[in-house]
Symmetry: C3
Subunit: 205 residues, 3 copies
């Protein structure tokens, strides 16, 4: 097997993974651990951290200071804004705690590490936090500073602490306007969506 | 032209800008990119990041992990608390997304990158987020953890998600108390302000 | 005096403190300043920052990007989640500000730097912010993204901006359920607590 080609690792970065796709760039003071899987043509910003077990698709933008842990899977074309943070345990305790009963019970729970998934094309805003176990739907947008405690449907715009739905967004990023009952349209690109029980679906036009 | 003098760059920092004023100190694991403009006597904390196009005045305190992007302009004597984060796009998408229509529309919008300005003497609290396009007025204080979605008037104290005005603050940092209709005073230093339609103005005393 | 033994400092970390206990590990791009006191068997994650004057007990987990300042004291067995941030000044101003009156008044106040304490066994969630002067009680849990503006009683679960009490938690990390007036029990480990005026106390069983 030949050496990985076409991967840029900044002289001040640390990349220990051998599963990074071609065209991906890793910037200063970022750390990609052994066992992290990164697709092709991704961009990993300064001071970002990808733990072993983290999985990224293709063409993902990871802005500065993002932290992605074991148990987090990110699809293709996702934008993860600066300082966005995932989690993988809802009730963490210091694993070094000596009380035998407490530590044992805690480690028992560890077997149920909650998995988090971000679907294709979604965007996560600056310094948002995603609680373990949530799924962020395709092309959804999580606003800056939001704390996501539950699933976010495709094309939804979520904001606040805890995050609630403020509206719907287009693939191009802009908010949709309702043009009639259960029909939404993008004011910029004209893409049209039907609203069903599972959220928005692009209309055949 | 002589080499820059009186600039301290920590051995573990990375400074690529040639537009850093004398007396400024840049600490460990911080990254000042080429094209960032930094005034004199600033302090840039550990793990901070200044992108090309970011502009800082004189005597600015940038605490650890602050991120300042292209399109952000910071005045003189500003305090930017630890982990405070700016943004420069309200509806971001991964620029690597291949769908031609989506990518084209997104790049069209990029021409409207929203500019952010922090006026002289303002303070931004720990881990606050400033949404693109906001102006933070002189001597205003943004509380820790706040998400600023709109302009903040001079001397205002803003807090919460989204941030709202909680009161007014003095140049010295303390909250003002109302002494009569439209007149506010600092309980520590006695500075007096008149409240007008554009916010507070220091009274001639 | 012999060299410190059994301390692991990653080749990309920076440890300037000579007061780090045996068994402690310090990971990539973390910075432990001279004068920081760290107990034994701690784990200091990537990009974390411990300022001179910060004090940590034994078996503390400091996840990535945590910032601990002078004036913050952390007990034993504490979990500090990724990106959690302390503060030590409630109304900060840039210390470089030249206005003599303002700077003088500000520095006067500096003598009243507010101290923060985290008691044994507590957990702080991802990207939470602890305002200066707060005490976090033993085994309390602060939720991800919370902004703590006041004291948190032992075993309390606090969440939101500003943080409020949502319930009570066991030493093992799970939420307690009320089994009768002023009596709470853990559904996982059965530990029982009495609720008194100062919060929860473990029952003798």
């Amino acid at each position: 097997m030949s050496a990985p080609i076409d991967i840029f690792v900044h002289s001040h970065a640390l990349c220990e993974s051998e599963q990074v796709g071609p065209g991906t760039r890793i910037w200063a003071f970022a750390h990609v651990m052994n066992g992290a899987v990164v697709g092709r043509d991704c961009n990993i910003g300064d001071h970002a951290f990808l733990e072993g077990g983290a999985r990224l698709g293709d063409r993902v933008t990871i802005k500065n200071q993002v932290m992605v842990w074991d148990g987090v899977e990110i699809g293709d074309d996702v934008f993860v804004g600066p300082g966005a943070c995932f989690t993988n345990d809802l009730f963490p305790r210091s694993q070094r705690m000596p009380l035998p009963a407490v530590a044992d019970r805690y480690r028992q729970r560890q077997g149920w590490m909650a998995l988090t998934r971000v679907e294709n094309g979604a965007s996560l805003g600056a310094r948002c936090v995603i609680l373990a176990g949530a799924t962020i739907g395709a092309y959804a947008i999580v606003a800056a500073g939001a704390v996501v405690t539950d699933d976010v449907p495709p094309h939804a715009l979520f904001a606040g602490v805890p995050a609630k739905r403020l509206g719907w967004v287009c693939r191009c990023g802009l908010r949709l306007t309702r043009v009639q009952t259960a029909v939404w349209r993008c004011p910029q690109c004209g893409e049209t969506f039907h609203e069903g029980p599972a959220g928005l679906v692009i209309a055949d036009t």
